[in-house]
Structures are given as structure tokens and as C-alpha cells.
């Protein structure tokens, strides 16, 4: 991991799990693979705290364990999966996607599972039903069957998957080390298990329980205890579900492609591409360069009925998509009215290129963006040729090129005419390499998100006193209202916060919201660049 990624991971771990887990996590990231003893020694934390943090990380699928370098007889070693920690940045986006696809129920299911890391189906259903019932008006409650149906829909479209069974389940609790542990280097892929997406049979009937506010404390404890003992009745113990991040990522990628098509062409073309992508959702492997070939007949049948376009018009749209210079769609054959595929890798490359161009444009101006695009297209150019093609005066062109060069967005290639690299006798060509530039920008993005998080923490810390005061006042107000106090007392308490303090609180809230939303926006850029880099690496 790079330095920026380590910093960002540390910040995310601290925010979600606290200081202790952050210390353990960053120690593991920095040192690679460690045994328990070594970890405790290096972090200078007591052993049981280290154990608990490792449990938390494992529960969320961020840490793996296995036989170490000394073989099965030696101590167990632990390893962090760094990508999983960075996925924490994207949790809001996953939850929002689930909400837009499957409504509130889906949103809450995904939220619960993300929060807990892994959960059984029955406990998820119960918790979600309780939460939904809490928000519903009096007298209504959420039926378990609705939640179960939402859950099964999520599993059918592969957004949730079963956690891979760990080899040492059951035997490590007794301390016996008889069963050989799998080596740390090969984590089992969840998709390799045949029952990855099979729903267990559970007998769960009933409805969500509404929690009364007066019995808050006791009901919580009782419900918690009940949840633990209820598990064994439902018939699916030991089958844990986790969020399938890859599937969400494929969904985001499809969304990006569809919105690009609709910006470039028109709405109908983007609907056609959406249909094509939907049809090949579960059949295309994750890192494929193209989707499955679909015939025009199939596409015609699968189009949503609201778009009743005639068959020849559909053919015209498909031809236009194929002819477009962006090459989103390609034609691979003529059977069945024409076989069409979506070029996934090329689409990702185009999106990444547009991202790079937009960064250069916003940062350095439209003329520098013109020079940048020119170099992307024409690969290698001399200084004079750059001026001629871009129609920029010589002095300005030189200035812009040198600025871009100093920011490492443009590289210089020397081609000597003579064996000694005499400056007057060498060609100096400017060039842009898309992949290294994308990596550079990705690191910038990580640093930016780290900066935003730190600023948010700083703002919160600065105004801690004010926040605590407002929290106290709210607690007093709530208790007064519950016990039925008079209006005069309420207003008296409210006035304890002065107007400028209220304003300060308001602006603080505004700042924190802005910082949060910009984190999500930068995360979109991170996603595009990461997908592009992964796709080019997979292709090699």
C-alpha cells in the first residue's frame, strides 16, 4: 500500500471502529503479516485488546488468518486485506444503491449487514423488521415475509452472498490444532462455493416488534438476549451473509457507462445499453473485457415496454452505437439480426481519459486541456508541432507545457540523433501515458479524501464544547417533554443556547455536510480510476 492509502485506511478505521482497532490495523498494514505476539509487542497494547480488535477486523472480512511461515505447527499469522478497508469509504453509496433498487427494506438490510460485517439471515430479518416497524405509524408493523422477500431478491441478483466457511470452524474453540489450517496466501473466494447464493430454509414467521420509548433500556437488553437465543430456532445457524462488493462495483460501472452514453448520444440509446447490460448482469464474469454477445432479437424482446420503438429503428440505433467513435458497443457477428457486445474495458478507458482531461481543464485552463488532449491523441509531438496543432502562441504553449511537465502529467522523451546526447542534436518529444497518469491522480484522490476527513475531525474538535452543550440541552428538553413540563420551562431551557451559538452550530452543521458530500464525490472519481487501472492490469 502506498503512504496515502495507509493514511486513509488509518483514518477510516479510527472513524468506524475506534483508536485501538486503528492502531492494530495500521500496524498490520505496515508490517504485512504478523503473529499475535509480534502484533501485541509492536503496538504495546494488552493481549486481549489486540485479540478483540482482530476479531472485529475478521468479522468485517478485513483480516485473514492462517498458517504462517513456520508451517502448520507454528503460530498463526494475520494479514490485512487493504482494499476492503478502502471500501469503507463507499458504504454510503452501496446503501443508496440498495435503496434505489429495492426500496427502504433493501436499504436497511444492506445497512445492517455492512454495520455488522456478517449476519445470519434470520437475525437480519428480525432487526430490519423491528427498525421498520419503529418508523411506521402506530398500529402497523412490518411483516417478516416482506423482509424475507427483499432479502431473497438481493441474493438472487447476487448483491449478497454467503461468507466462505472457515476451515477451522468449531475445532479452534477447543484449542486443538489438529485440523490443518489453509495457508494465509490463498483466501478462499466466496464464489468458488457452489452454494454461494442459495437461500437457506428458515421458518420465520411473525412481525416486527415496536419498541416503546419508556421501556427503552430494559427492552434493549431483553431484545438483545432474545436475539441470541432465537437464533437456534430458525434453522440457519452457521450460514452467514456478507455484502458482495464486486457485484456493487459492477453495478456502479454499468451506471457510469449508461450515463456516459446518455450524455453523448441520447436517452433512447442509453436505454438500449442499459437493457444490454441488464441482460448480461449475471452471466458475464467480473473482469471480462466484453459482455456476452446478445442478438438484436433478444435485445428487442427485452426492451422495456414503455419504449415501443419499431424493430428497424432499433437496428438504426444499434448501428449508430457501433459507429460512434467512443466504441461503447461493438458488433461481433450477423446471426440473429446482428450480435452486439458492450466493450467494457474500452468504455472504462474512455471514462478514465475523460476524468484526466477534466482534471487538467479545471486545474490549468481550457488551453492546457487542449494541449493535453492533443498529446493524448497524437502520442508524441515536438514543441513546434504542439504549437501548430493547438493554435496557441509559442510563448504560452511553452509555459503551459512546462507547467504540465512539472506536475508530471506530461512526460518528455528524448530521441538522440548522435550517440552523445547533445541538446542541440536531440529530438525532445512530449507525450502522455494514460495509465501512469491515472495512477498518479488516484493517489491524489486518496490524499484529498484524507485531507477532507482530517478537516472534518478538526472542525468537530474545535467546536466540541458547543456540541456538548447543545447535546445536553437537547437531553434536558427531551426529559422535560416526557415528564410533561410547561411551555415556559421549555422555552427557558431553549434560550440557554444564545443566537450566535445557534448560528455557529448551524454553520458547523453546514460545513460537516459539505465535507461529507465532497468525500462521496471524490470517491466517485476514485472508483472510476480504480476500475480502469484494475481492468488494464487484468488484461495484461
Amino acid at each position: 500500500m502506498t503512504a496515502q492509502e495507509v493514511r486513509l485506511s488509518g483514518l477510516l478505521l479510527q472513524e468506524h471502529f475506534g483508536d485501538v482497532v486503528e492502531k492494530v490495523g495500521t500496524r498490520l498494514i505496515r508490517s504485512g503479516v504478523l503473529t499475535l505476539r509480534a502484533l501485541a509487542y509492536e503496538t504495546k497494547l494488552p493481549l486481549d485488546l489486540v485479540k478483540k480488535s482482530l476479531c472485529v477486523l475478521m468479522q468485517h472480512g478485513m483480516c485473514l488468518f492462517g498458517a504462517g511461515r513456520r508451517g502448520p505447527a507454528g503460530p498463526v499469522e494475520y494479514r490485512i486485506i487493504s482494499e476492503r478497508i478502502l471500501h469503507m469509504l463507499r458504504y454510503p453509496r452501496y446503501i443508496y444503491t440498495a435503496k434505489s433498487l429495492y426500496g427502504d427494506t433493501g436499504e436497511l438490510i444492506v445497512e445492517e449487514i455492512l454495520q455488522r460485517g456478517q449476519m445470519t439471515m434470520s437475525s437480519t430479518v428480525k432487526t430490519v423488521a423491528d427498525r421498520l416497524t419503529h418508523n411506521m405509524p402506530e398500529g402497523q408493523s412490518m411483516d417478516y415475509s416482506e423482509v424475507v422477500s427483499a432479502f431473497s431478491r438481493l441474493v438472487e441478483t447476487h448483491f449478497l452472498q454467503r461468507c466462505p466457511p472457515t476451515a477451522s470452524a468449531g475445532s479452534s474453540s477447543s484449542g486443538a490444532v489438529n485440523t490443518p489450517l489453509p495457508a494465509v496466501k490463498q483466501p478462499t473466494e466466496p464464489e468458488e462455493h457452489p452454494e454461494c447464493y442459495k437461500l437457506p430454509y428458515i421458518n420465520l414467521t411473525g412481525q416486527g416488534k415496536r419498541r416503546r420509548s419508556s421501556e427503552d433500556g430494559e427492552a434493549d437488553q431483553r431484545a438483545a438476549k432474545k436475539a441470541k437465543t432465537d437464533d437456534s430456532e430458525c434453522g440457519d445457524e452457521g450460514i452467514y451473509w456478507q455484502v458482495n462488493f464486486q457485484r456493487f462495483h459492477l453495478h456502479f460501472r454499468d451506471q457510469a457507462i449508461i450515463s456516459a452514453v446518455s450524455c453523448k448520444l441520447d436517452q433512447t440509446s442509453s436505454e438500449i445499453v442499459r437493457t444490454m447490460l441488464r441482460m448480461s448482469e449475471v452471466t458475464t464474469p467480473a473482469h471480462a473485457a466484453f459482455t456476452q454477445a446478445l442478438s438484436a432479437n433478444e435485445i428487442f424482446r427485452a426492451l422495456p415496454s414503455s419504449y415501443n420503438i419499431a424493430r428497424p429503428i432499433l437496428d438504426q440505433y444499434l448501428t449508430l452505437l457501433v459507429d460512434d467513435p467512443m466504441e461503447f458497443v461493438g458488433k461481433t457477428g450477423d446471426s440473429g439480426g446482428g450480435m452486439y457486445v458492450v466493450n467494457l474495458h474500452r468504455a472504462l478507458a474512455n471514462l478514465a481519459r475523460a476524468t484526466l482531461e477534466s482534471v487538467v481543464q479545471e486545474r490549468f485552463g481550457s488551453r492546457s486541456a487542449r494541449i493535453f488532449r492533443l498529446l493524448l491523441r497524437k502520442r508524441h509531438l515536438e514543441q513546434k508541432q504542439v504549437e501548430d496543432f493547438a493554435m496557441v502562441p509559442a510563448k504560452e504553449a511553452k509555459d503551459m507545457l512546462y507547467t504540465l511537465l512539472s506536475e508530471n502529467l506530461v512526460q518528455l522523451q528524448e530521441i538522440p540523433k548522435t550517440p552523445d546526447y547533445a541538446p542541440s542534436r536531440t529530438f525532445y518529444l512530449y507525450t502522455v501515458n494514460q495509465l501512469p497518469t491515472a495512477r498518479l491522480l488516484l493517489q491524489h484522490c486518496y490524499k484529498t479524501v484524507g485531507n477532507l476527513i482530517e478537516r472534518r475531525l478538526y472542525e468537530t474538535k474545535e467546536n466540541k464544547r458547543l456540541l456538548e452543550k447543545s447535546q445536553r440541552i437537547e437531553a434536558i428538553l427531551a426529559s422535560l417533554q416526557a415528564t410533561g413540563a410547561e411551555a415556559a420551562q421549555l422555552t427557558e431551557v431553549e434560550e440557554m443556547i444564545t443566537a450566535p451559538e445557534r448560528q455557529q452550530l448551524e454553520s458547523l452543521r453546514h460545513h460537516i455536510n459539505k465535507l461529507d458530500s465532497s468525500e462521496n464525490q471524490v470517491d466517485e472519481t476514485i472508483f472510476l480510476l480504480e476500475s480502469y487501472i484494475n481492468s488494464t492490469q487484468a488484461a495484461r
Binding site: S259, A260, C263, K264, D266, T268, S269, I313, Q316, Y317, L320, P325, M326, N350, L351, A354, T355, E357, S358, V359, Q361, E362, R363, S366, A369, R370, I371, R373, L374, R377, F389, A390, M391, V392, P393, A394, L441, H444, C445, K447, T448, G450, N451, L452, E454, R455, Y458, S507, H510, H511, K514, L515, S518, N520, Q521, V522, D523, E524, T525, L528
Partner: protein, 314 residues
């Protein structure tokens, strides 16, 4: 009889010269020494040589060499009158400049070709310029370099830079105006096509414009003082492609259709960008000039960042 003899015998230098000139006119390819000798057998070699030398120095005769021997040729009357009164060196320099033709020649190159010292060259050049025989043209590539060419020649495009340069200055506003005009033309065409609500193929084809159409439109607008050719318009359209606002396709066209070059036509179409400005640039860090110096705990850090403070209060 004696008078005639005397006349004939008198070797008048001017006569000899005139006779040689007449001979040259008779033989426009040039005459050798032998021919002169045959014509005037009574003239001594020395007198002949001095006559020839005089003619050469005045510049009415050209000395050439061929496989046989030396040839003398009559020079053009026009060029003769021009360089009358100049000496050998100036003639040499003038000849070199004349050979350079349209592109002109740099003073250092003149020095190499004529092997004359720099001071001499400068003097001669000043002389020739005052006589209005040559002129100095500033090259657009290197602004300090001056190339010399004959007075009445039109400097070549590579020296002046063509339509985009006026007096050695790149006309950026002119280029910008043309840029915007072409883009507006293509954009309005694309919008008209989109609003026509016909079948998509027809829509796309009608949103295309050939380079010839754009050229005609710009000419009719009349914003350009200089005549622009179709290649000039194509370079402008290329800059629009590099701005990401326009895309181009090439189609095969019959020879003879308006605007086709070598059997192809270039079509241009206005397009929309495929993504919105990306998330990174919506934060101050994406545009920060001191991004690399920013660390937590340093002089510049996220906690005390001025840009962030302003951006948050926006």
C-alpha cells in the same frame, strides 16, 4: 587605303568589347576564347584578355566553365543595369540571395557560401538594402533572425506563418473568434437535427457538416480580413476536436463533388462531453497549487487550510 589599314590596325579597346558583345549575342550559349580569336585574328591575346576582364568587371559578361574551356556569355540587360556600379563582392552576395528565392537566406549562411568576413557582409547588405535590391524579413520561427530575399519577392508561408500571423504576431484573438464561430455553427446544426425528431440515422447524418460548408459559412460571415483557405478552416476545426467539442469522420466521396479532396470528405459534428466535471475537482484540494506541500502538522495542513475555510463558507 592607308587610312583603312590604319583604322583596321588600331586596336580600340571599346571596339573589341563591342565586337565580343556582338559575338555573344550571336551565340547565346556562350563563346569560347577560340571563337573570339577566330573573329579578330589581329587582336593580341593580352588586349583580348583585358577587354574580356573589363567586360566581366562591368558585369556585362558572365564567365562560365565547361568541359572544353572557359565560356563567356552575355548577361541579361536588366540584371546588368541593376548591379551596375557594384563591385564583385556585392554581386556575389546578390547572387546568393537571388538563389535562395522565396524562403530567404540568413546572414550567416551568406557568409558560409561566399567566404567573406562578417564586417564585409554587413556593409554589403546595408548597401544593397539602401539600393532597394533586397529586403530583410523577420522570420516567425525565431524572432531575432532576419532572412534576406529579393525586394520584389513575396515571402514564403513558412517564414511569415500564413494566415494566422500578422506582422510576426500570432493573432490569438482572431483564432479564438473563428473557433467560437465554427463551434456555434456546428452546435446549431446538431440542435436542429435533434429537434427534427426524425429517425436516428437521419438525425445523425443531418447534424454533420462538411469542411466545405463550414468554410463557406465563415467566408460569408466576413469576419476575416485575410482570405482563408479550406485547409485553414480545417486546422481551426482540428483545434475544436482537441477541445473535445467536435468529432470528425472521413467518408469517401466521388471526385468532383464540391469540397472533396482526393476522393474523401471530412465531416464534423458537435458533441457533448461524456462526463460531468469529475468529483476531485469539486474540492479545493483538486485545484490546490500547494497540494504537494500539505501535511498534517505542517505549515500548510488541512486543519488550517485557507482555501478550505473559504470554500466551506461559500
Amino acid at each position: 587605303m592607308t587610312e583603312v589599314k590604319v583604322k583596321k590596325e588600331s586596336t580600340d579597346p571599346v571596339d573589341i568589347e563591342n565586337r565580343i558583345k556582338e559575338l555573344c549575342q550571336q551565340f547565346p550559349h556562350g563563346i569560347t576564347d577560340q571563337v573570339i580569336q577566330n573573329d579578330m585574328p589581329h587582336v593580341e591575346a593580352q588586349q583580348r584578355a583585358s577587354a574580356i576582364n573589363r567586360l566581366l568587371s562591368v558585369g556585362q559578361l558572365d564567365l562560365l566553365r565547361n568541359s572544353g574551356g572557359l565560356l563567356y556569355r552575355l548577361k541579361d540587360a536588366q540584371s546588368t543595369s541593376k548591379v551596375k556600379g557594384s563591385d564583385n563582392q556585392e554581386k556575389l552576395v546578390y547572387q546568393i540571395i537571388e538563389d535562395a528565392g522565396n524562403k530567404g537566406i540568413w546572414s550567416r549562411d551568406i557568409r558560409y557560401k561566399s567566404n567573406l568576413p562578417l564586417t564585409e557582409i554587413n556593409k554589403i547588405l546595408k548597401n544593397l538594402e539602401s539600393k532597394k535590391l533586397i529586403k530583410a524579413v523577420k522570420s516567425v520561427a525565431a524572432s531575432k533572425k532576419k532572412v534576406y530575399m529579393l525586394y520584389n519577392l513575396q515571402p514564403d508561408r513558412s517564414v511569415t506563418g500564413g494566415a494566422w500571423y500578422s506582422d510576426q504576431d500570432f493573432e490569438s484573438e482572431f483564432v479564438e473568434v473563428l473557433n467560437q464561430q465554427c463551434f456555434k455553427f456546428l452546435q446549431s446544426k446538431a440542435e436542429a437535427a435533434r429537434d427534427s425528431k426524425q429517425s436516428p440515422m437521419v438525425q445523425r447524418n443531418s447534424s454533420f457538416a462538411t469542411s466545405h460548408e463550414v468554410w463557406k459559412y465563415i467566408c460569408e460571415l466576413g469576419i476575416s480580413k485575410v482570405d482563408l483557405s479550406m485547409e485553414d478552416i480545417e486546422t481551426i476545426l482540428n483545434t475544436l476536436i482537441f477541445d473535445g467539442k467536435v468529432e470528425m469522420t472521413i467518408i469517401a466521396a466521388k471526385e468532383g463533388t464540391v469540397g472533396s479532396v482526393d476522393g474523401q470528405m471530412k465531416l464534423y459534428r458537435g458533441v457533448n462531453p461524456i462526463i460531468q466535471p469529475t468529483g476531485l475537482v469539486k474540492t479545493p484540494c483538486g485545484l490546490c497549487p500547494v497540494f504537494d506541500d500539505c501535511h498534517e502538522g505542517g505549515e500548510i495542513s488541512p486543519s488550517n487550510c485557507v482555501y478550505m475555510a473559504e470554500w466551506l463558507d461559500f
